[in-house]
Amino acid sequence: MLALEHVSYRYAGAPRPSLHEIDVALADGEVLGVVGASGAGKTTLCLVASGLAPRTVGGSLSGRLLLDAGDVAGWPIHRLAGTVAIAFANPATQLSGVTGTVYEEVAFGPMNLGLPRDEIIERCASALEQLAIADLADRHPARLSGGQQQLVALAGMLAMRPRHLVLDEPTAQLDPAGTALVAAALSRLVAGGASILLTEHKTDLLARLCSRVAVLDGGRVAFEGPAVVVLSDPRLAELGVTPPAADRLRQAASEADLAAATLQRVDEALAG
């Protein structure tokens, strides 16, 4: 379980908090989607949920971060690294910058954890295979496209085998095929009991992956609930979030005053 209890957070030097009284909890094997307009606090929420704020970022935090029911306030960041993984939208800054091959890049985290050599090799092979980038293993990470680099960064995260994942727009630079690979890898992790906090502008992906979705506005949770309910809520658009294509189509069909039978066929097609 990953939970934030009454969490407020303010960056150092900021006049007001970026997060206000956040209460979210993810059970094992659950994906919580987080949406909101730019500046709503999604990235800050990811930093707090991963323990990087305030440990690395600075600032002041009130409230509690709980991992598997334990308060992690006193944990050093390297202890959290083996439990919570985070991925950012920009792949260039997630790569270590010191490795000569994709394989070494994926192995970087497990090597830091001091894991046995054979286990590192097994984890790397598995992570590369899950994201279908085994053929890139010998390439230099800096010579890859943005999308490929993002997959490498995610493979590095998968190789850490964390119990909890915090993903800040991890598919921002990926094409549909890359996004599908990431979605499949995340589904496998969830089936294995991992909990995932996922911020995304791609609400279609959230509709596919998430059991629940929270909508952030001005650093507060505006509303939260089952994904199917929240992602079709008319307030989404008012808060700067584009609903999934299926919901927009359903809405357009409804507004076009189509015959009931046609509407039903649209619904059936979308559900299928």
Binding site: P76, L80, A92, A107, P110, M111, P116, A153
Partner: protein, 227 residues
């Protein structure tokens, strides 16, 4: 500095630089690079010593108030021989030692992972910065910035390039730091190393021979056997 005269440094360069460069098949690149590397300082050394060597008595050439002396030329050649030996050794190291392998080997021998990271990151920063500079230059040109033409225009073009370059690099530092920490980089203790560079017996022997030659050369120098 230990070996005096001209022949000493050249002999040392021949044994410790040229011969290994031949074996490593990088002699051509080594000569080109080390000559380019040492050219500015070599010209300076030659001019300064040829014309301004204190106590030079044998006049080779008189150019108005400036006099070139044989003693100055001899000293300049001696210094040049040393410079060539030093720049050759540095270039040989650069041409034959990939930074990644060096860092892994250092780490294997007990150097802290953080120090190893700093060395490695520094070595890899230059190509990354060059790529970033090229991207920013292209972006600024696309927006009408003139980075070609007269010297003045080029100088004026530096400011719009340096700003994004510097700010972009600084902005990335924080996110890169967070990504490293999230991957356990600050964990105390030794990392697991997946491999280590091959280290043959002959290479170990050559290294120890070079190390052992240092005190031997110092002793010989002190005894006056090296000129």
């Amino acid at each position: 500095m230990v070996i005096g005269g001209v022949l000493g440094p050249l002999l040392l360069a021949g044994v410790a630089v040229i011969l290994p460069a031949l074996v490593a098949r990088v002699l051509g690149r080594l000569l080109r690079t080390s000559l380019l590397l040492s050219l500015p300082i070599a010209v300076s050394v030659l001019v300064v010593n040829l014309f301004f060597y204190p106590g030079g008595a044998t006049v080779l050439l008189q150019l108005g108030p400036i006099t070139a002396t044989a003693e100055g030329l001899a000293f300049a050649v001696e210094v040049l021989a040393r410079i060539m030996a030093i720049s050759g050794a540095i270039t040989l190291f650069y041409l034959t030692t990939p930074p990644g392998e060096l860092v892994i080997d250092l780490e294997r021998r007990g150097v802290s992972p953080r120090l190893a990271f700093v060395v490695n990151a520094s070595a890899q920063t230059v190509p990354a910065m060059v790529e970033r500079a090229a991207a920013i230059t292209d972006a600024q040109r696309a927006r009408g910035l003139d980075t070609q033409g007269s010297l003045w225009r080029r100088i004026r073009g530096v400011v719009p390039l340096a700003g994004p370059m510097l700010l972009g690099s600084l902005a990335e530092v924080e996110e890169r730091t967070m990504a490293l920490e999230a991957r356990g980089f600050t964990r105390p203790g030794r990392r697991t190393l997946l491999w280590s560079p091959p280290d043959r017996g002959i290479e170990r022997l050559a290294r120890w021979a070079l190390v052992a030659s240092i005190p031997a050369l110092i002793v010989l120098r002190a005894m006056g056997a090296l000129g």
